[in-house]
């Protein structure tokens, strides 16, 4: 068992943390890190807010042009 996690690991684990999917010991290390790292607190809150906002958008709410741009960006990102 690790003694601590890094900022990079916070980035990798944030979705599981917010969805309460982390094992208790992992969640503890995650929260220990948040207890001293202001940058990661901001990051986690940004992801939480983004998920809450985007989670309210229905597919039909997105204009076709925006949808195409997003899909293109996503495909480019997957290729990189």
């Amino acid at each position: 068992m690790a003694e601590h996690i890094t900022c990079q690991e916070v980035v990798e684990l944030v979705t599981d943390y917010l969805e309460r999917e982390l094992a208790p010991e992992e969640a503890s290390l995650f929260e220990q890190h948040l207890n001293f790292c202001d940058g990661c607190i901001v990051y986690v809150e940004q992801i939480r807010a983004t998920a809450a906002t985007v989670g309210r958008v229905r597919e039909e709410d997105v204009p076709p042009e925006t949808r195409d741009k997003l899909m293109t960006a996503f495909r480019e990102w997957k290729r990189s």
């Binding site: 003694e3 969640a27 503890s28 220990q32």
Partner: protein, 169 residues
């Protein structure tokens, strides 16, 4: 059982933002929640857990009912705040300084390739005791090359806190 809990200055929980009933003439009201570590329940520290969760204000908390122990905390079904530990208000900055001084001491005794770690110590002080405790423990771990050094440094911090705050470990 008696344990300890760090809260924000306004008496709310650091992670859930729950507004705790604070002690006034006597203990605060009991709070109950199903036990599910890191998700639900009354989370609290043994003395040895305190360095990992150092925060703004510290309370003594009485736990009752089912209590689950993890390596770095307790989770209970019921809890109430018994008293604020005022000694922490007086010792918080001294603890931060102690951790900073310890980090400098470890670096000074280490081979020169660790000297660059010294530059992170003083700029970290405004971030408070939790970060400085971590920094000192990480530096010990890095120099010794083993997680045991990290744990040993945390135990050293625990001893300091127990003595200065008058806590039973």
């Amino acid at each position: 059982m008696i344990a300890y809990k760090f809260l924000r200055s306004d008496g709310s929980s650091v992670f859930s933002s729950f507004a705790w009933p604070l002690p006034a003439d006597g203990p605060g009201a009991w709070v109950e929640a199903p036990v599910d570590p890191c998700r639900s329940g009354i989370h609290a520290c043994r003395v040895g857990d305190l360095p990992y969760w150092a925060g703004r204000v510290l309370y003594e908390v009485e736990l009752d009912g089912e209590i689950v122990a993890q390596t770095d905390k307790l989770t209970a079904a019921r809890g109430r705040l018994v008293r604020r530990i005022r000694a922490w208000d007086e010792q918080r900055d001294a603890y931060t300084r102690m951790c900073a001084d310890r980090a400098h001491e470890l670096i000074a005794a280490a081979p020169p390739e660790f000297a660059h770690w010294d530059t992170v110590v003083e700029p970290s002080i405004p971030e408070g005791p939790a970060l400085l405790g971590f920094v000192a423990a990480r530096i010990a771990e890095e120099i010794e090359g083993t997680p045991a050094a990290y744990r040993a440094e945390r135990e050293r911090q625990t001893k300091w806190l127990a003595e200065r705050l008058g806590l039973l470990s």
